[in-house]
């Protein structure tokens, strides 16, 4: 007897990507590749001042440029009632064009429309703005004094935006007071930017029927449609949002930017299509991610058992609170800060402030503030281990949430679905040769060489989310999926998600093919067009596989149930006698009597019997819970004592993302995320000087790692399926970016620890590391 086959049909296969042939031949269709007949070009005027009153705007010289068509300021926008935009989580509104004052350097002040791109930029150069500079508030600690109120437009005359907290404050304080050890550390996660290689852009046109055709770089096209209805008052049936191929997104293409509103307003008033494509400088200065100043306290007993966790955060949100977080979660999923550890009690508190900086608080490959939280706890675990003189892996092992504790209710109110942290760590330590590395490190240390091993055993929370908790602009965070099977067994799949390089055209086909036993090569996957795709909240926060992927699997099962009826008709049996086995319907007890989905598809259109003809399904999936992917990352570095230069010798990522759809794509996601984590750890920061000048406005100052700096990545995985997800999948896109910064920093600090260095804030540039070595050696010499 042969064992029943467990070979999967399409799931778990490294199928090559269906979208690649067009990208490889230069046939992708990105926003700037689209041109509409008669289109105008738009360029924006930006403020050179971080904080100033606007005394006047004179566009007369600009309007003399050959090809100039119009110049618009907040005055015109306000006349149409579109001068301000609501921010996604509803806690604030944002100026479209500076209204009376500017609040950050590079803020949009005027929009110029012209016949050519060059003429539009010439116009923007010539718009004269009379600024009256005001005192600059360039950090949240200055902001909290409320000496200068940045936003007099708001009801409360304070720079404080909101307080958010979770957990049990007094129990946590009591537990800390009773602990043998309390370890404290101030940790900054600097301001950075997702910087996809394709900047944002759009083309707006009102067609002859007065319908807005809006082509835009959007990770969430349906949300844009509803947001445009809310901002502009245009009925939703008169708005068509099309998000074409996206050249990366990583969170940067979630917000609705002022430029989009200006393009639409221009198209409406000038009755011509308007195209606007960001410059790189505009891209880097219009939004940001992170910028959390965090104080952590961890209590521990003498034997290394964690007793309590307390985190206090000051968040710098810039000029407008334009964070794209769900309404009820102004600090996103920061509550994941208790990480992979079984803290008996915990408390997290956060206060957010306005400053004269670019607005945002959008994600950077991160499920709403998870990166800050994971970095903090993983960094702090190493500091605790150091103080307790324990190996950092032993401290973690001792405090992991155990496999048998799931579903695990965290002290900060999440219910973790599943995980096996210890196993994943063991796999990683074994593969990297941890014991060997420790031995080598001891030898090197004896010679005065600086070698470091950094561990991060993170847990993240993704897949927002269950409608009882999660909404954006009031819209619940579900996702829709639609599948149509054609008579030949080929089909079309549509979802409300939107790939930016994640390969949905391939993985979505694999999910459906697996459920139905059809060929994944014969599924067309369509996303990004709000006229055809079912409603969905889009792709960010690692939510596509957890939410849209779940919707697809369930929609496919709905099709299977209908197919059962048609199969029963064709085979002339009762549908209860049919069993879905080995990717076909078999008559129970009559092996050999079976029908494939391909045959059923044909019958659905040619011989459906009394059943409704056709074979298609639409399904909206409201996930019952979030998913909690985890992983163990290990970095091995060598730091040059003389120059401060860090070399990442090895980096191993063992991820547990639940069920894997396509291992090749998962590995690619991990490589990309690790490289972004590497960039954050070592080179990326949007720094501001005292005067409020933004110091990272292009790729010569805001660095993206090249092939030369980027380490070679080693990857692997363990599989702990999500118990509630239809196919047991979690997510992986963000894990490497969430989990890796701590591994890098822990490794560098481990290398420097013989010198007595305890912590350095990112980015760990050569200069910073060198200065830390010098300072430590200086102290030692004293």
């Amino acid at each position: 007897m042969t064992a029943p086959t467990t070979e999967k049909f399409a799931m778990g296969k490294s199928m090559k990507r269906k979208e690649d042939p067009r990208f490889l031949q230069g046939k992708g269709n990105y926003i700037d590749d689209i041109n509409l007949k008669g289109q105008l070009y738009m360029a924006l005027v930006h403020s050179p001042y971080p904080h100033a009153n606007i005394k006047g705007i004179d566009s007369s010289a600009a309007m003399k440029v050959e090809g100039a068509v119009a110049c618009v300021t907040s005055k015109e926008l306000n006349a149409y009632n579109v001068g301000w935009l609501p921010t996604f989580h509803g806690l604030d509104k944002q100026m479209v064009l500076a209204d009376g004052k500017v609040l950050y350097q590079y803020q949009e002040v005027a929009a110029c429309y012209a016949e050519t791109r060059e003429a539009a930029y010439d116009m923007a150069e010539l718009v004269e703005v009379d600024y009256e500079p005001l005192e600059v508030v360039n950090n949240p600690f200055k902001a909290m004094k409320d000496d200068v109120i940045l936003r007099p437009d708001r009801e409360n005359k304070t720079n404080h935006i909101y307080n958010w907290n979770v957990g049990d404050s007094s129990a946590t304080d009591a537990a800390l007071a009773a602990s043998d050890h309390v370890v404290k550390q101030h940790v900054v996660f600097p301001r950075c930017h997702a910087a996809p290689l394709e900047p944002c852009g759009c083309i707006a046109e009102f067609d002859t029927m007065g319908r807005l055709q809006f082509y835009v770089t959007s990770q969430a096209p349906h949300v844009y449609r509803t947001a445009l209805f809310l901002v502009l008052g245009i009925p939703e049936d008169k708005i068509h949002v099309i998000s074409p191929d996206l050249g990366g997104g990583f969170g940067n293409k979630v917000p609705v930017y002022p430029g989009y509103v200006c393009a639409i307003a221009g198209a409406l008033v000038l009755k011509r299509p308007v195209k606007w494509i960001e410059t790189r400088t505009e891209n880097l200065t219009s939004s940001f991610a992170r910028d959390y100043h965090m104080d952590i306290e961890i209590g521990a007993s003498n034997d290394g058992k964690l007793t309590a966790l307390k985190v206090n955060t000051v968040a710098d949100h810039g000029a407008f609170d334009a964070a794209a977080d769900p309404s009820k979660y102004p600090a996103g999923m920061f509550g994941i800060v208790s990480g992979s550890y079984d803290f008996p009690v915990a408390y997290a508190n956060l206060d957010a402030y306005f400053t004269n900086k670019q607005p945002g608080g959008v994600a950077y490959r991160c499920s709403f503030r998870v990166t800050e939280a994971s970095y903090l706890i993983e960094r702090a675990m190493d500091i605790v281990a150091d103080e307790l003189k324990m190996d950092p892996t032993e401290l973690r092992r001792k405090n992991f949430i155990r496999k048998d504790q799931f579903p695990y209710k965290s002290p900060l109110n999440f219910t973790y679905d599943s995980g096996d942290y210890e196993h994943t760590m063991d796999v990683a330590l074994e593969r990297i040769g941890y014991k060997q590395l420790l031995k080598e490190q001891a030898e090197k240390r004896a010679k005065g060489e600086l070698m470091g091993i950094g561990i991060s055993t993170f847990t993240e929370v993704t897949g927002a989310g269950p409608s009882k908790h999660f909404d954006i602009l009031g819209i619940k965070m579900f996702d829709g999926a639609e599948i149509r099977i054609h008579p030949s067994g080929a089909g079309i799949i549509r979802t409300g998600s939107k790939s930016q390089g994640q390969g949905h055209e391939t993985t979505w086909a694999q999910i459906v093919a697996e459920e139905l036993g059809l060929d994944p090569q014969n599924f067309l996957v369509e996303e990004g067009d709000t006229d055809t795709a079912p409603y969905g909240l889009g792709t960010y926060a690692s939510r596509s596989t957890p939410v849209a992927g779940g919707a697809l699997a369930l929609a496919a099962r709905k099709i299977r149930e209908k197919a059962r009826k048609i199969a029963a008709h064709v085979l002339e049996v009762d549908e209860r006698d049919l069993e879905w086995k080995d990717y076909k319907f078999e008559v129970m007890g009559a092996p050999g009597k079976s029908i494939t989905m391909k045959e059923i598809a044909f019958a659905a259109y040619t011989n459906p019997g009394d059943n409704e003809p056709g074979l298609e399904a639409t399904l909206y999936y409201d996930p019952p819970n979030m998913v909690f992917p985890h992983g163990t990352y290990v970095a091995v570095v060598d730091v040059d004592r003389e120059t401060g230069e860090t070399k990442v010798r090895r980096f191993l990522a063992i991820d547990d993302a639940g069920t894997i759809i396509n291992p090749m794509i998962v590995e690619g996601q991990v490589h990309g995320g690790l490289t972004e984590g590497f960039a954050i750890a070592f080179m990326q920061e949007i720094a501001y000087d005292e005067a409020g000048n933004n110091l990272a406005t292009n790729f010569t100052d805001y660095l993206v790692p090249t092939s030369l700096e980027s380490p070679s990545w080693e990857t692997g995985h363990t599989v702990t399926p999500s118990p509630h997800h239809p196919i047991g999948a979690k997510s992986v896109g963000e894990s490497p970016n969430v989990g890796s910064p701590a591994a890098f920093v822990n490794a560098v600090i481990d290398a420097l620890s013989p010198l007595g260095v305890r912590h350095i804030d990112m980015p760990l540039t050569r200069e910073k590391v060198w200065a830390a070595i010098r300072a430590a050696e200086g102290q030692a010499a004293d």
């Binding site: 090559k16 990507r17 979208e19 690649d20 042939p21 067009r22 990208f23 490889l24 031949q25 230069g26 046939k27 992708g28 990105y30 700037d32 590749d33 050959e66 791109r117 060059e118 910087a195 996809p196 290689l197 394709e198 900047p199 191929d245 996206l246 050249g247 990366g248 997104g249 990583f250 494509i277 410059t279 790189r280 400088t281 930016q500 390089g501 994640q502 390969g503 090749m664 794509i665 590995e667 690619g668 996601q669 490589h671 990309g672 995320g673 690790l674 490289t675 972004e676 292009n698 790729f699 010569t700 993206v704 090249t706 092939s707 030369l708 980027s710 070679s712 990545w713």
Partner: protein
């Protein structure tokens, strides 16, 4: 505005147009020749998504050249690599090795790689990484791009003697 007649042979086809002297080569390629595979990703000559070949084998960043500077020269873009839809060994290798995700950097990566392999048919990993260092990729982390170029180098070096035989 003063317009100047510019004539450039792009992928074997002469493209002639009157453009402003400040028109960048990348815009000439995208707008006059209507070849949109060559992209723009920065304002500082940093990213390389605009890379094309000048006179057959010299990779240049077409955002950092004026169209007039290419007058009378030959330009090769990504659109020329798969005549009749048959993928170039490098395109095939990028597909096989998952050397692309969003695809935005891919045309520039491919053109740089074509030139790299022309000058050095059997590069080491370090030579590949050095050769690519003017082309940023935000998605792949470069591992698979390196593998792609290694695969193509293998295929192409085998293909040459075979071709010489017949």
């Amino acid at each position: 505005m003063n317009e100047i007649p510019v004539s450039i042979k792009i992928n074997g086809k002469q493209v002639t147009a009157s453009v402003e002297s400040r028109t960048l080569l990348v815009h000439f390629i995208r707008e006059q020749a209507e070849l949109t595979g060559t992209h723009v990703g920065c304002d500082s000559s940093s990213c390389g998504v605009c890379t094309v070949l000048l006179d057959g084998d010299k990779p240049v960043k077409s955002c950092t050249m004026f169209a007039v500077m290419a007058h009378g020269h030959e330009i090769t873009t990504v659109e020329s690599l798969a005549p009749g839809g048959v993928l170039h060994p490098l395109q095939q290798a990028f597909w096989d090795q998952h050397g692309l995700q969003c695809g935005y950097c891919t045309p520039g990566m491919l053109m740089t790689s074509v030139a790299l392999l022309k000058h050095n048919p059997n590069p080491t990993e370090h030579e590949i990484r050095e050769g690519l260092s003017g082309n940023l990729c935000r998605c792949t982390g470069y591992n698979n791009i390196v593998k792609s170029i290694q695969q193509a180098a293998g295929v192409m070096s085998q293909a040459i003697p075979a071709a010489a035989d017949d």
